[in-house]
């Protein structure tokens, strides 16, 4: 493996880019992710997790079991947005428009 070897196939991130993030002070998978997009693609780091953890372990000298995993989030598997549409009367989502005009009413 040389430094140009691709680790994150979804986002095409190589070893060199991961090491650059580590040199900038990144300590965890998610630190590297936010700087490089490593693990942000369609597979959501399912493929690259351990390869990235190994690079972190080699760089920091910490044993593998001390290297954190990336944070998992819903959905576990890619899901059509339409399937999730709820049909509730009330919504936890706020309308930016309504919020702004209520300010006009009270403060205007």
């Amino acid at each position: 493996m040389d430094k140009s070897t691709i680790v994150c196939k979804c986002e095409e991130i190589n070893i060199d880019e991961i090491e650059t993030a580590l040199k900038a002070g990144a300590c965890q998978f998610d630190d590297i992710k936010r700087l490089t997009r490593c693990g942000m693609g369609p597979c959501q780091s399912k493929v690259c997790t351990n390869m990235v953890r190994e690079i972190i372990a080699a760089y920091t000298g910490e044993p593998m079991e001390h290297i954190e995993y990336p944070k998992n989030r819903m959905p576990i598997k890619i899901t059509r947005l339409g399937v999730l549409v709820a049909n509730q009367e009330t919504s936890s989502v706020v309308s930016v428009f309504k919020e702004s005009v209520s300010e006009v009413d009270t403060n205007g």
Binding site: G25, R34, M74, Q88, V101
Partner: protein, 367 residues
């Protein structure tokens, strides 16, 4: 270990990093930025990062946001490509009855020079054919846009480092004391820093930082949850109040507000409501694939407006805490640099002072 600096900034999010960069441009001061974690692990890294102006009310707050948005193109020349795009912003409404309120908003914003148009259904669809024909209308302004928050914070930090600002990450501040005119800042990993001036820019953790100095900083923590689709072909161009499409094609969707403390879980209920909002606005999104959800905890001052400036009873201690840190960071960085280096600012910060909250509790009129 005891180190001296002229200015210590606590918090390396979008606000703290911007202040550090703007202060460093003159290269007059020795500056350190101390953060409990790594940049982008908190609020600044969990946002859609709209640079949003036209719905910010009352109009003086919209005006501040506009000045900040106006600084972005110049900022990008200085620190590099932060993927700032002035896309124009559309805030849809679904009830014809709302048109009157929209016109009133446009009138108020015009007083400070923010050009807001109130569109009818056809005009909305002309701008963005993918939007739902159930939309009755929208407010629109060309000033709104968005930015890549990861690039923004990273490049603020890189530019500040180039100007010799020091950064200390993964180093929580555990105490701050003022002794014989200087701040003694105790950190977990690097001992104590002594600073002539201190700026608290801890976002949702600013309340804790304030308590070290014995002051109450009235801010709330408000969670927002966001959905991320797989990269799609260009679907819409504008920043729509509730969603935007990034350069690489992902659509970011969400506008929820929950006061649940610093809890960054996502919940099925909000994910479902957010999916509904997405499809109500853009029916074609029903066929898009969701790859991830995430959440972030906003910091929102009790009255909704930024708290920026010197703390009146603690000389040389400053606060910079606000919601909409992404929109406001170029302006707040600029003004804080003026305040600390020259002692006065080009825009009056009186309205943003922490003192307004005390006045309120005494029953005095604010604004």
């Amino acid at each position: 270990m005891d180190k001296y600096v002229d200015i210590a900034i606590i918090g390396s999010g979008v606000v703290g990093s911007s202040i550090a960069y703007h202060l460093s441009e003159s290269r007059q001061k020795e500056i350190i930025v101390i953060d409990k974690g790594f940049p982008l692990s908190g609020t600044s890294g969990s946002t859609q990062a709209w640079v949003w102006v036209h719905n910010k009310s009352p109009s003086w707050y919209g005006e501040l946001s506009m000045y900040s948005a106006e600084l972005y193109p110049f900022l990008e020349k200085k620190i590099g490509d932060v993927e700032y795009k002035r896309t124009g912003g559309i805030a849809p409404f679904f009830d014809e009855e709302d048109r009157e309120k929209a016109l009133k908003l446009a009138e108020k914003q015009a007083e400070v020079g923010i050009k807001v148009e109130v569109l009818n259904r056809n005009q909305v669809l002309e701008k963005e054919p993918v939007l739902s024909s159930k939309i009755a209308g929208a407010t629109y302004s060309s000033i709104d846009g968005n930015v890549n928050p990861f690039r923004l914070v990273e490049l603020y930090i890189k530019a500040a480092k180039k100007n010799d600002v020091k950064f200390s990450f993964y180093n929580p501040v555990i105490d701050i004391k003022k002794e014989s005119g200087f701040f003694r800042i105790t950190t977990k990993n690097e001992g104590t820093y002594t600073a002539e001036k201190i700026i608290l820019a801890g976002g949702p953790w600013t309340k804790e930082l304030g308590s070290f100095l014995g002051i109450d900083i009235p801010v709330k923590q408000v969670r927002g949850q966001i959905l991320v689709t797989e990269p799609l072909a260009p679907l819409f161009r504008h920043t729509i109040a509730g969603m935007r499409q990034t350069d690489n094609g992902e659509v970011l969707i969400g506008y929820s507000k929950e006061e649940v403390g610093y809890d960054r879980r996502t919940t099925m209920e909000v994910i479902q409501d957010t999916a509904k909002m997405a499809v109500d606005y853009i029916p074609a999104l029903a066929n898009a694939n969701l790859v991830r959800s995430f959440s972030g905890v906003r910091v929102i001052p009790e009255d909704g407006f930024p708290i920026v400036g010197e703390i009146s009873n603690i000389k040389n201690a400053y606060l910079a805490v606000m919601h909409s840190g992404v929109t406001l960071s170029p302006l707040v960085g600029t003004l804080m640099a003026e305040l600390l280096l020259e002692g006065e600012t080009s825009i009056d910060l009186g309205r943003l002072s922490l003192d307004r909250f005390e006045k309120k509790s005494n029953g005095a009129v604010v604004q």
